[in-house]
């Protein structure tokens, strides 16, 4: 067999491996829909339009067809004019008279048809994830948000008659569900850009002493933050001096504070988190980080609900982006009236009672009697915080704010309960500090996992420590080299839970991998979202955010990342096409 035969054989095999034989169902549906309402063109018209192959005029060149078309068009025009003149319609034909409009009965719009029974017919609460549009008179809830929340919606200035359209957009309009266990997003009808969010932050990075502050502490930190520009402390929702919070907004009384960020600073679309104040999402979730910014106006209602911080935030920019540029691309504006309107078209917000509380305790320090360490607890705390900072840098993102929760000195011979042999959890042959902390921890062996809580072991004599030993369930993350490569070109990868619809399933990816690489070991796939962080940043060879498709600040590419033994591959999670490859 010669080289050419080998080449042909390889090429044929590659073609057949690469060919995905099944067209997506929606393509078939689209074709049927696009062709179903009309008939084929008359044969002579199709021919004149230069339809290729097998046509009587196939031998006629383009110029010839144009000439024929012009002739036919001229004949048609003459015929039309003659007919119009004969019927006395010459003026109208020549455009001297406005077209006659016939009265018609407008068809009811889609939004005018409630998809749920009106509240006059008592029924169960309706989950906003389950309904096509939102109407007045219905008590809405979320299947996901915890604690359970209920509320009613209406239209501004309209009678709250049951079943009427509200001024809120269809909650199913977003590509990714706007609700989660920690977030409910209601978008205002004006282009669905402004929104009201009910947020239960996973943590707060806003200059508070604790990443889990109560409403009063967070309010104090926000008001003290000069980076947020002009603000108004509007007291409590019940404060009669202020009217921006309508009396009926909250169904129950909660310890609460209201703050209005004026957003009067010049909008800087290129800066991320200029105010250094963020409401952080749960790691691995699809929820966005919410930045509080001096260049974006917002009203914040900070609530303590059974010891949990819940933030009601209205903002007219729909700002849920990781970058300011993304906010700008969403048509961010500054219209205080819209903020007030949004607070008037939702009412009776109520959170179900819960016994859950949050841990506000600071780091505990345990030094057994008789042990005399060389290092101080403050020193080991700083060492761990520095390690977390390094992992944040490797990961290019802080998963949660760093916080040391426990410091314990262990005598030689100690073993950490639950630590597997060889896991670095002992037994230790010298005096060792065990430091437990929240933060960003990367634990990389042959592959990497990330943890938001871990225990690190630091020998008191200053020798090399071990760990981190992740606490709880970690999540697989791509190779740091992949993350670094993305960062170099202005992009970031956030692991996320794969939606159940709209993306290729993990099982399908694995199935494809197994077919294409039957002998190779692969790691993953790991689902995540790639976003453009910095459009101005270019990688080593001049390629920026376009590298993985998210080439604009308002774009996100859902990807599956996997490692085939010696190289990584990123594929578009919606199309299956390969976006990037790399390797050590």
């Amino acid at each position: 067999m010669n080289d050419r035969d080998e080449f042909d054989r390889t090429l044929r095999a590659w073609f057949h491996d690469e060919a995905r034989l099944d067209a997506p169902r929606h393509v078939f549906d689209a074709v049927v829909a696009a062709t179903g309402g009309r008939s084929p063109r008359m044969g002579w018209l199709a021919i004149l339009r230069g339809n290729p192959m097998d046509a009587p005029l196939a031998g006629i060149g383009h110029g010839g067809r144009v000439a024929i078309l012009l002739a036919v068009a001229a004949a048609l025009l003459l015929g039309l004019m003659a007919g119009a003149i004969l019927s006395g319609g010459s003026d109208r034909l020549l455009g001297l008279e406005p077209p006659i409009r016939t009265a018609s009965t407008p068809a009811p719009s889609e939004s005018a048809r409630p998809s749920v029974p009106p509240a006059t017919q008592p029924g169960p609460e309706v989950a906003i994830e389950d309904t096509g549009n939102l109407v007045s008179g219905v008590t809405y809830t979320s299947n996901l948000f915890e604690p359970k929340v209920t509320f009613r919606l209406s239209a501004y200035g309209a009678s709250p008659a049951p079943g009427q359209p509200t001024d809120w957009c269809d909650p199913q309009r977003d590509a990714y569900a706007p609700t989660s266990t920690r977030s409910v997003v209601l978008r205002y009808k004006m282009s669905c850009v402004g929104d009201l969010r009910i947020i239960r932050p996973y943590a707060v990075d806003c200059g508070t002493a604790d990443a889990h502050p109560d409403a009063a502490s967070l309010a104090t930190a926000i008001l003290a933050n000069r980076g947020l520009g002009a603000m108004q402390d509007l007291g409590t929702p019940a404060d009669s001096r202020f009217t921006i919070v309508p009396p009926g907004l909250l169904a129950d009384r909660y310890p609460a504070r209201v703050i209005k960020i004026d957003g009067s600073r010049a909008f800087d679309g290129t800066t991320t988190d200029p105010g250094h104040c963020r409401l952080l999402p749960e790691p691995g979730s699809s929820d966005p980080t919410i930045e509080l910014r001096g260049d974006i106006g917002a009203v914040l209602i900070l609530l303590d609900v059974d010891g949990r911080l819940i933030v009601l935030r209205v903002a007219d920019g729909g700002y849920d982006a990781r970058t300011g540029a993304e906010a700008a691309s969403r048509g961010y504006g500054r219209d205080d009236a819209v903020l007030a309107v949004m607070l008037q078209i939702i009412s009776e917000i109520r959170f179900a009672a819960t016994s859950a509380t949050i841990d506000r305790s600071g780091p505990t320090v345990e030094i057994p009697a008789g042990l005399t360490p060389t290092m101080t607890p403050a020193t080991v705390e700083q060492m761990v915080l520095a390690a977390i900072a390094r992992d944040e840098q490797r990961f290019h993102e802080a998963l949660v704010p760093a916080r040391v929760t426990a410091i314990r000195l262990m005598p030689p011979g100690s073993t950490v309960a639950g630590g597997a042999p060889g896991s670095g959890a002992g037994p230790f042959d010298r005096l060792t500090w065990a430091v437990t902390a929240d933060g960003t921890f990367l634990s990389c062996g042959s592959h990497c996992s990330a943890y938001t809580s871990a225990t690190t072991f630091i020998p008191d004599d200053g020798s090399s420590g071990s760990g981190p030993l992740g606490n709880g369930t970690g999540f697989a993350v791509p190779d740091p080299g992949f993350i670094a490569a993305l960062s170099a070109q202005g992009q970031a990868f956030r692991p996320a839970s794969a939606p159940t619809t709209g993306v290729i399933s993990a099982g399908s990816v694995i199935g494809d991998l197994s077919q294409v690489h039957p002998k190779a070991d692969f790691y993953g796939p790991i689902f995540g979202l790639v976003t453009c962080e910095d459009q101005m940043k270019l990688g080593p060879q001049g390629v920026g955010c376009a590298a993985l498709g998210a080439d604009k600040a308002d774009q996100t590419t859902a990807i599956w990342w996997f490692d085939v033994g010696f190289r990584w591959v990123a594929i578009d999670a919606t199309t299956g096409s390969t976006l990037a490859r790399g390797g050590p």
Binding site: F7, D8, T10, L11, W14, F15, D17, E18, A19, R20, L21, D22, A23, P24, V27, F28, A30, V31, V32, A34, T35, G36, S39, P40, R41, G43, A46, I47, R49, N51, P52, M53, D54, A55, G481, A484, A485, L486, A488, H517, P518, K519, A520, G539, Q541, G542, V543, A546, A547, F566, R567, A570, T575, S577, T578, L579, A580, G582, G583, P584
Partner: protein
């Protein structure tokens, strides 16, 4: 059977046309995907071709040539989609050419596939089309020429040039030095 459907579709029978679509859409999609190397564009091209097929089906005089005619519509739709691709093209992070000690079969196989894909992407759409029609669909030369709308001699020279270009791309790939991880094209 297909001939009957084509005849009925030509008379405006949409159900017949739908049956033709159902029978042909997967093959068209696979072909478009190979030519365009992009699922979204392939979907657009298939839809474009089939909608045009319905609009113009009355111009098809010989029902037996429906498949070839449809392929021709598809290839032209791919060319149009390819132009859109040039406007917004996804850039790939360049993969690492393999080197060093002998690789296992699977790694070697993977390397060849990757080289083929990269080389194939470098070809012009008309070169990808001729290779796809020849190697994937196994069409006779005359039919490839027919689908492309060019004389058979032109088709053969185009196929030869495309094959040579792909070989050259693969050989060039083999000569490239190793590139650090994450570097981009």
């Amino acid at each position: 059977m297909q001939r009957d459907l084509v005849v009925r579709a030509r008379e405006g029978d949409h159900d017949a046309f739908t049956a033709l679509v159902a029978a042909s859409i997967n093959g068209l999609y696979a072909t478009a995907r190979l030519i365009l190397r992009n699922d979204d564009l392939a979907e657009d091209a298939v839809q474009d071709a089939l909608v045009r097929a319905w609009s113009n089906i009355r111009s098809l005089r010989d029902p037996d040539r429906f498949e070839a005619w449809l392929r021709r519509l598809l290839v032209h739709a791919c060319y149009r989609a390819g132009k859109r691709e040039r406007v917004r093209r996804v850039v790939e992070i360049q993969e690492i050419p393999l080197g060093g000690p002998a690789s296992p079969d699977s790694q070697r196989s993977l390397a060849i596939r990757d080289q083929l894909e990269r080389g194939f992407r470098r070809l012009a759409p008309d070169q990808r089309a001729v290779l796809t029609l020849h190697y994937f669909l196994d069409l006779p030369d005359a039919e490839v020429a027919d689908v492309l709308g060019v004389p058979i001699g032109t088709m053969k020279s185009r196929l030869n040039r495309a094959s040579s270009a792909l070989r050259a791309a693969l050989e060039a790939d083999d000569r490239e030095p190793a590139i650090a991880e994450g570097q981009t094209t």
